[in-house]
Symmetry: C2
Subunit: 86 residues, 2 copies
Amino acid sequence: MITVQVYVSLKQGVLDPQGSAVKQSLNTLGFSEVEDVRIGKHLTLTIDAEEGEVDIEERVKQMCEKLLANPVIEDYEFTIEEVVTS
Amino acid sequence: MITVQVYVSLKQGVLDPQGSAVKQSLNTLGFSEVEDVRIGKHLTLTIDAEEGEVDIEERVKQMCEKLLANPVIEDYEFTIEEVVTS
């Protein structure tokens, strides 16, 4: 079993209305030191394959480009963690 | 200027309908090896303070507990990165 951490974030320069709303709320709550907030997705995938059995890196890249990230406005990166279950 | 990476994720045992929907879609797209998907938030905060000036750790903890995470169903963790601007 392999665990993959995927981080999807808006590209630089793309407006982040959700992040701006959270920044406003934090400032209103008294956290005036917060200058900027950018919000992205963090996905944890559990994949049923042994290392070497499948080209995990290539498969996850395809998953990101087909579904998990919008290539027009989002960037993605991922880390693969080997989890050995007894 | 300090950058803080905040990761908010659903607690173990809390149902993740969004994650299940993404899993179904990935399986439908042919990625049958995907067994589970959990989705969380990844926030990047830019804070206007010099290290030591404010107890950043305590302030970010308060931000998470007051706004960024729902303590009933979500866990949070964060990493503080010193960014020195010229």
